[in-house]
């Protein structure tokens, strides 16, 4: 029983990371039909930004430093996202294949750039001592870092939902996912929403990178790209363009993975996720909450 609780909460923490990486992908795709293959690089940028804050600001108390690190990671992700959209993707609107290939190039070069600067071995993030301590829940000793990641992901999910449903920008993004031309015809500059969505996706992935550095005990340039695959699976299972779908799928995928690894055989987790994807595609090709578009 206690191991079940441990696995579940570990799985939910992983789900949080997947959500942070996948929600940006899903929104960007929904609004712009662009599959952003640079999202993994955004994740790594966030991770290294956090690492630098922890490493360079030695005088600041650890707890505060970590909060700063997460904020800087989000900011760095947002900045990179903005640059990618404004500087590159927006130059070739109208050709989705080229846009996707462009993000592929940016992702490849970006990860290699980080590799050139920081090397390919994982850099260990300094963490407050209480991260590695455990809290007992239903008889299981849960590492606090898992709970923290889960909490941050839930807060960000709620914040994202509030942003999308309660703010004007969110409203414009939801409308733009349906029909960008009509949004323009109402006098709204959708191009700005494109930039906002890329920045938002970058910020979420960046924070994901900072938390991922904790979850995976270090950050390396390729970490985001490795996780990106699961994010893709999450996006496809959840339904392209649906944030709640992404959240639900993130939980399903992460739990499947963790349970399979621990109850069946270590290493089977990822295979199980692909099998899960196959099953979903056979039953519901548009994903759990995806709409069949005309």
């Amino acid at each position: 029983m206690s191991s079940f609780v441990l696995y579940t909460i570990t799985g939910l923490g992983l789900a949080g990371l997947y959500f942070l990486l996948a929600s940006g992908l899903s929104l960007i795709f929904g609004l712009m039909s662009v599959l952003n293959l640079a999202q993994g690089a955004f994740f790594a940028v966030g991770g290294f930004a956090a690492w630098m804050v922890m490493d360079l600001l030695g005088d600041v108390p650890l707890d505060l430093r970590f909060v700063l690190a997460v904020i800087v990671a989000g900011g760095a992700g947002a900045a990179v996202g903005t640059v990618v959209e404004r500087g590159f993707v927006s130059r070739i609107y109208g050709s989705h294949v080229r846009q996707i290939l462009l993000t592929l190039g940016l992702g490849t070069a970006g990860v290699a750039l980080l590799g050139g600067w920081f090397g390919w071995d994982p850099r260990i993030l300094q963490q407050p001592a209480w991260f590695v301590q455990t809290t007992q829940i239903a008889g299981a000793n849960i590492p606090n870092s898992r709970l923290l990641i889960l909490a941050v992901a839930v807060v960000l999910f709620l914040a994202l939902m509030v942003f999308l449903t309660r703010t004007r920008h969110g409203l414009i993004i939801r409308a733009g996912v349906e029909n960008p031309s009509m949004v323009r015809a109402l006098g709204i500059d959708v191009g700005r929403s494109f930039t906002i969505v890329f920045a938002l996706g970058g910020a979420l992935a960046g924070i994901g990178g900072a938390l991922g550095a904790v979850y995976f005990n270090g950050i390396s340039p390729g970490l985001g790209t490795d996780q990106l695959i699961y994010a893709f699976i999450v996006v496809v299972i959840g339904g392209l363009g649906s944030v709640p779908g992404t959240a639900v799928a993130a939980v399903i995928v992460a739990l499947t993975q963790v349970y399979a690894n621990n109850y069946l055989q270590a290493g089977l987790g990822s295979i199980s996720v692909v099998v899960l994807l196959a099953v979903v595609l056979l039953i519901r090709p548009q994903g759990l909450m995806g709409r069949v578009r005309p």
Partner: protein, 235 residues
């Protein structure tokens, strides 16, 4: 440009993909009245509205006051005060009625919700309803309401009664009659009865060029003329 023209189009060419739809169209849309744009399917009525909105690339000139609209991004055209009611309503089906209307608000303005709800009382009771679940007529009203929420210098309305049941058509026409008083409107309409109820003047397009401009009454009162220009009456 005549002083009372709200919009004047000169030598406008518009292509849709490979098809050359408008071949050098010139026309003026008079101020403060409804002008019907008529003609058979496929002659380019909708294309003209899309070109004015900047949703299709065009060459030539579309002037509103002293501003050239050709080449201007769509959102800027809309910000100049042109309201657009597209052919297939294009309400945001996943958003609620209230959200659809909120999108039409201009930041810092005073949206005319009273005016809109007076015209379309149906919508007031359905603010929380998801627009995709509205009936065709209600969607049309929402689409019109979106365009009427802010005061507009010009309204472009594309076949507001298309595909609606007759009873709903009459309802929409009645609302439009009140809504368009003293407003500059370019109304694309296939249905002569609807056009007759709403429009003072009429412009007929054929083969991508203007073939008739004049009063609505004279077209309606002369079946031969109507037939020749609208293409139904042959004998």
């Amino acid at each position: 440009m005549t002083p009372d023209a709200a919009i004047s189009v000169t030598d406008l060419h518009v292509w849709r993909g490979e098809a050359h739809i408008l071949h050098g169209v010139s026309l003026t849309v008079p101020r403060h009245q409804v002008t019907a744009l008529m003609g058979r399917n496929g002659v380019g009525k909708t294309t003209l509205l899309l070109a004015i909105m900047g949703l299709l690339p065009a060459t030539g000139s579309i002037r509103m006051a002293d501003t050239e609209l050709v080449g201007m991004p769509t959102h800027r055209v809309a910000q100049r005060g042109i309201g657009y009611v597209p052919e297939d309503r294009e309400v945001f089906g996943g958003l609620t009625v209230a959200e659809n209307l909120r999108l039409a608000e201009r930041p810092g303005s005073d949206p005319r919700y009273d005016h809109v709800f007076e015209l379309f009382p149906d919508l007031q009771g359905r603010l929380g309803q998801v627009a995709g679940t509205l009936s065709g007529g209600q969607q049309q009203m929402l689409s019109l309401a979106r365009a009427l929420l802010e005061p507009r210098a010009v309204l472009l309305i594309d076949e507001p009664t298309k595909g609606l049941a007759p009873i709903v058509v009459e309802h929409v026409v009645a609302a439009l009659q009140r809504a368009t008083e003293d407003t500059t409107v370019l109304l694309v309409e296939q249905n002569l009865w609807v056009a007759e109820q709403l429009a003072t003047d009429v412009i007929v397009l054929d083969h991508g060029t203007v073939t008739y401009t004049g009063g609505m009454r004279s077209l309606v009162d002369d079946p031969a003329l109507a037939g020749r220009h609208l293409g139904v009456e042959v004998r």
